[in-house]
């Protein structure tokens, strides 16, 4: 699924990085705890979060995440937008709460990354 499809599904506004909507999103992670994002996500993942601090962008940069969607109508300040531009991570904003935003994307076939090695989803998923 392309980032542009995510934008349409979540009726999201593109805050920055509009030239990168053709990137492929393979997995997603919904979290407000950046410690968990750093510990459990795999690269090439898109982050959905309600946090709008610069640490969200830094966490994404270090973890090789590909895009960030801010949920619950939250919007980052200008310094955060500029930082995301510097490190090349597109930012989107949706009015959907985190649970619903994740649910919509999940319904369209995107999955998360296994939190621990060896852990597997149930077969009927």
């Amino acid at each position: 699924m392309k980032l542009a499809d995510i934008r349409d599904l979540l009726r999201a506004e593109v805050i920055s990085g509009g030239d990168r909507l053709d990137i492929e999103i393979r997995s997603c992670c919904g979290a407000d705890l950046m410690s968990d994002v750093l510990a459990f996500t795999k690269e090439q993942t898109m982050l959905l979060t309600g946090l709008t601090s610069p640490q969200v962008v830094r966490t994404a940069e270090m973890s090789d995440l590909v895009a960030i969607v801010f949920v619950r109508g939250k919007r980052p300040g200008q310094p955060v937008i500029e930082l995301a531009g510097e490190v090349g991570i597109p930012l989107l904003a949706t009015e959907y709460p985190l649970f619903e935003a994740c649910g919509i994307i999940y319904q369209h076939g995107i999955r998360g990354t296994a939190p621990r090695e060896g852990w597997q989803r149930a077969e009927n998923e």
């Binding site: 705890l33 410690s35 968990d36 994002v37 601090s53 640490q55 940069e61 270090m62 090789d64």
Partner: protein, 141 residues
Amino acid sequence: MSEQGVNLEFTLAKYDFDGAGQASSKLKRLLQQIGVRPEVIRRIAVSAYEAEMNVIIHSQGGKMLAVITPGQTVLEFVDSGPGIADIEKAMTEGYSTAPDHIREKGFGAGMGLPNMKRCADQFDISSTVGTGTRIKMSFNH
């Protein structure tokens, strides 16, 4: 790159949340320029950022030292501060002494030290209560 490698040093200030991550970001870019494998760079960058945040959150300030040679990256974090009374407890996932205002920033979940240990090929921590903490991590390229 010469066999002696590249030495980097960054100063980390207490509660400098705006600057947090700059040192790790510069380190990551340098490793990319050198051509270290992306999977290795990711482990180094995540560990460096976790450690950087720890110094900013828990200590009175400190330093990040990086020595990059063709075969490996060695990171050393040295801070002045309260130190860690029980290192074994601090290494337990979920254990944290971070105050609420840090948790509101998305940190202080008690995942930092275990995550660094998991990411690094070698991990050493020593601490003296009332003096500070030192963490040394090595990553094979």
